[in-house]
Structure formats: C-alpha cells, structure tokens
C-alpha cells in the first residue's frame, strides 16, 4: 500500500502469472463468470495444443495420446509419458480436467530438433 521509506521486508512473491491472459483463458473456458455451457463447448471442442517433448521418445505422428492430471499436465502415448504441456495450454487443459473431462486425441506433428510437438485433443466425459 505504500510509497516512500519502509522499515520491513516485503511479503513473499507469487509465481509469475500473466493475469490478463489468465482471465482470457478462463473466460473462454467459462470459469470466471461466463456460462457453464461455454466451458463445456470449449473443452469438448477439438483443439490443437503445443507441448514439450520429454526427450527422444519413441512415438509418431498419428499416434493416440491422452492427457493426465498434474502440474504440468503430462502427455501419454500407450501408457508412456512423452511430454508435458506448458503455459496457457497447460492452464486451459487443467481447467478442462478440473471440470471432469478426459482429454484425449492424437499427435499432429513432431519437431524433434526443437523438442516440441502438437496434439489435437478434445474432451469427453470421464
């Protein structure tokens, strides 16, 4: 609340968060006041999601994937973890999983040099 001299330490800093972007993401998912149906639509709709590869994994474009709860959310292919979600994609998928959706789909592309890939996922009832 202040300015000028102060004789005490500051409170602990929070994790970095882009508050305005978070509001956008949550609003798109309906968790900040928009209707629940909007959230449902957003989670059930097929969407492309960027993810980070977990090393030199043995998988290929077209393979089936599913997302598993955690922070960050893990990307699994045939029971093996092949990567993680980051940033806004992680937060968005986290919200869908929190809403009770099981998120699954397929691998759209892989860039092994960059260590990233793209998934196409949508949510269904758990």
């Amino acid at each position: 609340m202040g300015r000028g001299p102060r004789p005490a330490d500051d409170p602990p800093m929070k994790e970095p968060v882009d508050l305005v972007a978070e509001i956008d993401v949550q609003d798109n998912l309906g968790s900040t006041g928009a209707s629940a149906s909007r959230a449902t639509n957003a989670c059930e709709r097929e969407q492309e999601v960027l993810f980070d590869l977990a090393g030199p994994v043995a998988t290929a474009v077209g393979e089936e994937v599913d997302l598993r709860a955690g922070d960050p959310i893990a990307v699994f292919n045939h029971g093996e973890m092949i990567g993680i979600l980051t940033g806004s994609a992680n937060r968005a998928m986290q919200s869908c999983i929190d809403f009770g959706y099981e998120m699954s789909g397929s691998l759209v592309s892989l860039d092994r040099r960059a260590g990233t890939g793209v998934l196409k996922v949508s949510g269904g009832p758990r």
């Binding site: 970095p16 509001i23 900040t32």
Partner: protein, 355 residues
C-alpha cells in the same frame, strides 16, 4: 505552486558529470522501460537495513526474474489496454469505514470507501450487497472498493479466480491495488509492482468490473510512462493515488508525489480526475489543491478511525448516553460530517486563492 525539481536526483539533474549505468543495466532486458540506467535509482548509493526488501523482491539476480518480466510483458504499460467503463461521479471527499456492526444505521453519506480488511472474510470476498445489508446502507449509497492495504492482503487479489470473485462482488467502483513502491527497493521491484497494479485493473475491466488504475512514480521517467499510457487510453477519466504512507511535513516521498503529480497533470492536459487516499490535514489538502484544480480531486482517508480525544459533539453524545462508553457508531458520522466540512472549506479557499 512551483515544484520544479524532483527531491531525489533525476537523470543528470544537478550533476556536473553523468552517472555511469548501474551494474545490472548492461544485459537488462527492460532497460528502456526502467529509465534508471544513469540515475541513483539504478542502484541506490545507500540502503537502510531493510531497504532491499528481503528475499521477496524482484531483482535482476533472481533466477526467476525473466519469467516475472515476461509475465508482465516486459513492464510495458502499453501492453494493457483500458476499456471504457461507467465510473460514478465522486464528491470532494469520500469517507472510509472499517467493518464494524456498530456503524449499522449510522452511515448516511452518498458514497463510502471500503478496504480489503473490511471485505475479506474466511478466504472469500464480501459482496457489496452483503455490506449494504449488514450496515444498513441504502441502494443509492455508492460503495467504492479501495484496494489500498497491507501488501500481504493485496497479494490475495493478484489471482485470476479471486479477481473473478471481486469482479462479481458488485462494487460501484474498484480502485486497483496499490502494490507498494517503497524506496529504496530494487528498481525492478518497483516496475514489477507498478505494472501489476495496472494489470489487475485491466483484468478487472475485462471482467466488466468498473475498475480504475492506481498510478505511482519514483522519478520522472515513471511519470512519462503513465503519461504515454493515458495518451493511448483516452477513455480513462479517473486515476487513483495512494499517498497514505507519504507522511511527515518534510517527507521526501510526499514532495516526490507532488512534483510527479504536477508534471503528470500538466502533461495529460489537466483533464483527469483524481481519487487521492491519505492526505488528512488542511496543510496537505492545500498542497494538493496547489497542483490540481480542486474540482477534479476527491480525497479520502482512513484517519477518521484513529483514536482521538472526543470532539464537543462526541462529548455531547457521551453525556446523553447516560455516561456509558461513547457509542462509536454514533460518533463516526459526526467525524465524517466534520471532515466533509473541512475539505469543502479547503476547496473554497484554494479556489478563492486561484481566483
């Protein structure tokens, strides 16, 4: 009122030779936004025992500094676009109250300000409707939520879910949080907190809450940043300033605030309205009205709650209450009326002096 100089050396001001860039300025990714490279603000020459702020300040040496900077768009205020909001008209003085049921039925002013301490309860936010019902406020009495409080409390609001709760709480006006800009502190931490104040304001606006920005500065570069932001966001008509901790008659922080205020108002064309929290004496009001036209200023302060000797009116209330302890609920409106009259008189004096 002539306030030409900043009280702490600004870039090149009063120096025979320019200062060298600060030790962290070379690789700093936000050196332009910062503007402190050749000033004493880059790395202050002397630090009080707690001046560095402990472990919880943002400093270029922190391993997560880059992430914090990125999360706030490199501290660029222009990354945050204001939306036109319906902002209520405010009188020249807005009293603040704390959460006390003794006040129920005794609050008759057209507008009141409340602070986080009054509305945070058991991990949730009291809605304006709850406050109105509990304190027997009428539907036409406006409630301004002033997010000026201890930083520990304000941190609570920098969270998308809490911001969403706040936006739905139904306050007539929400003034964004005054995350502290202490001096000395690492310059990066000051930028971090000033930018977070704006980020919260814009987040609340996105959620359709009638939020207004809190602005602040430590030196003229900050004023320039805010001026540029106002130019890019002409829909902003009201800004808020927290001067509560700028205490003392010769306070450097107070002078710094006034010099910046004069410069900011002049450079924004004298069109904005100001909600200023803190000044509670006739001398301070006169200084504010010396740099801002009184008809564009709303003052507010929390000092009405401080323990003071009872006034004559309060003594009268004491006598008619049969010698029981003074009824705070009945005394509070007496203090509010007196403060409203004092502020109105100060406004009139300032206008007469100007004429």
């Amino acid at each position: 009122m002539g306030l030409a100089r900043w009280p702490i050396g600004d870039a090149g001001q009063g120096r025979l030779f320019q200062l060298e860039p600060g030790p962290h300025c070379g690789p700093c990714p936000v050196v332009d936004e910062c503007g402190a490279a050749r000033t004493e603000y880059a790395c202050p020459p002397s630090w009080s025992a707690h001046g560095f702020g402990g472990q919880n300040t943002l400093h270029p040496d922190r391993p997560d500094a880059a992430e914090h900077i990125a999360s706030l768009h490199g501290f660029q205020l222009k990354a945050y676009k204001a939306r036109p909001m319906k902002i209520p008209e405010l009188p020249g003085y807005v009293p603040q109250f704390r959460w006390s049921e003794a006040l129920a039925g005794h609050l008759h002013s057209p507008v009141y300000a409340v602070r986080p301490q009054a509305i945070l309860t058991r991990g949730r936010i009291r809605t304006a409707a709850e406050v109105r019902a509990r304190l027997k406020l009428g539907p036409k009495q406006l409630l301004v939520l002033l997010l000026f409080d201890e930083d520990e409390l304000l941190e609570h609001f920098y969270d998308p879910r809490v911001a969403a709760q706040l936006a739905k709480a139904g306050y007539d006006l929400v003034v964004s949080a005054s995350y502290s800009v202490w001096w000395p502190r690492p310059r990066m931490h000051q930028l971090y907190n000033m930018t977070r104040s704006l980020a919260l304001c814009i987040a609340l606006q996105k959620l359709d809450a009638p939020a207004v920005p809190r602005i602040d500065w430590t030196f003229s570069h900050d004023v320039s940043r805010w001026v540029a932001w106002i130019e890019e966001n002409p829909c902003v008509g009201l800004v808020a300033i927290d001067a509560q901790t700028s205490k003392g008659g010769s306070s450097t922080a107070w002078k710094q605030l006034l010099v910046g205020l004069e410069e900011f108002d002049r450079r924004t064309g004298g069109r904005l309205r100001y909600l200023i929290n803190g000044p509670a004496t006739a001398g301070r009001w006169a200084e504010v009205y010396g740099v801002l036209s009184p008809d564009r200023v709303t003052l507010t302060d929390a000092r009405l709650h401080e323990a003071k000797p009872p006034t004559e009116q309060e003594q009268f209330l004491f006598s008619v209450s049969g010698g029981k302890r003074i009824d705070w609920g009945r005394c509070y409106p007496v203090r509010v009326e007196r403060r409203e009259a004092e502020v109105a008189a100060a406004q009139e004096r300032a206008l007469a002096d100007a004429a």
